[in-house]
Amino acid sequence: MEKLRSIPANRRADLLIFLVLALFPLAGSAFYTQLLTKYMVFLILAWSLDLLWGYAGLMNLGHAVLFGLGGYAMALCLSAQQGVPDFMARGGVTQMPLWLKILSNPAAAVLAGILIPALLAWLLGIFLFRSRVGGVFFAVITLALAQVFNLFIQSQSVWTGGFNGIGGLPGLSLSGAPLGLGQSYYFVFLVVVLVYMFCVALTRSRFGMILRGVRENETRLEFLGYKKASFKAAAFAVSGALAGLAGVLYVPVNGMIAPNDVGMEFSTAVVVWLAIGGRGSLTGAAVGALLVNVLGNALSEQFGAFWQLLLGAVMIVTVLFMPRGIVGTLMHRSEGREKRGEAQERG
């Protein structure tokens, strides 16, 4: 019991979330189990943005681009299992190009889906941060990037399926054997737990502390002997790798990917999850991603598109009255209570 108390409050909340997720398929219907599999993939995406925005203070409004690169790598892989995919054949492609042959190997697709977004993020980071682009300018550039990427995907319809995206894809399988609903769920759950452990280790390490230093006062950090651009680019790269991994998992879970999943709209959605849940604790990102998606699903059944308006209102209320987000506000309050308690004991 003592040991449990020494764990920070938000880590205990994380354990509770994992417990609920681990038990859910035993009680929930097949429909919701499938839905929650997808939302668990979004947890990885939310954490990947939290590392960048919550810890390093870099707001990426084009996060779905990194997610999309992973997703499209996996979608191309899955669609090329039986030779030239239909949408390419319609565009006049008769032979598999070499890169697609390579990508049709699932292991290669997973690697590409993680490394390509990481590399893109790193290069972009080196370029932007060395030229001292920061703050709102970084956000605007990434926003533009999201739009450009979305248009690019749509324009290259021969290779990307264009506006319709790539659909009809098979679900998760391990060494050729397709996984059932529950198996898929627990496979994703396992990946989520591993990613979570990685994120906790990273944020607790000296690297994580330096990222918070970047967020708090990057000039001060520079005068302590740190190359801030390297750390920001590295944070961007790690974030890109995890976002790519989320994309890789998303495609077989969702069965399709389309330009909508990689543009400005979805990028903004991820930002909203974090703004509502709270940044810089990992817990807030998880709570935000789950809450917004679960509620969104339930409420859009009731209210249809009106739900978007509700979400907008919730967003505004959070930003105005709880700028730390739900989890951030709760943590701040409990810390304040602990401190008052200490003061009373002493006084």
Partner: protein
């Protein structure tokens, strides 16, 4: 002990205005040098040049024999080991006092060395010692933003001690402090930084008297005078441009407070 810092004809101009012109400064190892001068004399500009925040129009800066003119702030800090305390507390606000010190430790300062790794053992102990010395041991888990103004100034001095530089630059370490806090800071600098090479920019003459041996007076971007404090205080030129004017400036301020 020999010379550790030397500037040669150091000059910088901002849009045609010479903020510093032909400044030759020499600081010996282990020396505590105070730089004084009226507002706009170029004191902070001089510190900005030494730590690489801005580049000179011409002139050179030598540190430990190496030419560090135009090097980036992180290189000046990491490779040449020059530490700087900024004007007004400049700390990591939403991090605890202990974390502020840990981050200042001159270890694992690159991406590969810090990635998924903890700070080497010894850093926490060192941080604990310094927290005791700067009087913040009881508040080590407080966020910097919850500390008082004076405590944050001390925290930043502690960060500098943690950084363990060969040259410490303190830009107005007592700015905004009460009289007793100022005195305590003076004691802190005398005791904790004894034997270190320290370059202090200060306005408060009581503080200067408390800590200084050698004083450099800057005026309108040039070195007006340099020497032992007693000689400086009796230099008619210095009295005319600085000491007298700073006294008349101080009077209404004291009346107001």
């Amino acid at each position: 002990m020999g010379e550790i810092l030397r500037t040669e004809r150091l000059s910088v101009s901002f849009g045609g205005f010479w903020a510093l012109r032909d400044v030759n400064l020499s600081v010996d190892e282990g020396e505590l040098r105070v730089v004084i001068g009226p507002n706009g004399a170029g004191k902070t500009t001089l510190m900005d040049l030494i730590t690489g925040r801005i580049r000179p129009a011409y002139g050179k800066i030598f540190f430990s024999g190496a030419d560090i003119t135009g090097k980036s702030p992180d290189e000046v800090a990491a490779k040449y080991r020059v530490g700087r305390k900024f004007q007004g507390p400049n700390v990591f606000e939403n991090m605890t006092a202990a974390e502020n010190l840990t981050l200042a430790a001159p270890v694992h300062r690159t991406v590969p060395s810090s990635f998924l790794r903890a700070a080497p053992c010894g850093v926490t102990e060192k941080a604990g010692e310094i927290l005791e010395q700067i009087g913040l041991a009881q508040k080590k888990n407080r966020m910097a933003c919850e500390l008082s103004h004076g405590e944050r100034q001390w925290l930043e001095i502690g960060m500098l001690m943690m950084q363990d530089p060969k040259l410490m630059i303190l830009d107005e370490p007592t700015a905004g402090m009460t009289e007793s806090e100022t005195h305590r800071t003076g004691e802190m600098i005398r005791e904790l930084l004894a034997g270190r090479t320290v370059l202090v920019v200060e306005h408060d003459m009581n503080f200067v008297r408390q800590v200084a041996r050698t004083v450099t007076v800057l005026h309108m971007g040039r070195v007006l005078a340099e020497g032992p404090l007693a000689a400086i205080e009796n230099d008619p030129e210095v009295v005319r441009v600085y000491l007298k004017s700073s006294k008349t400036e101080e009077e209404p301020g004291h009346a107001g407070a």
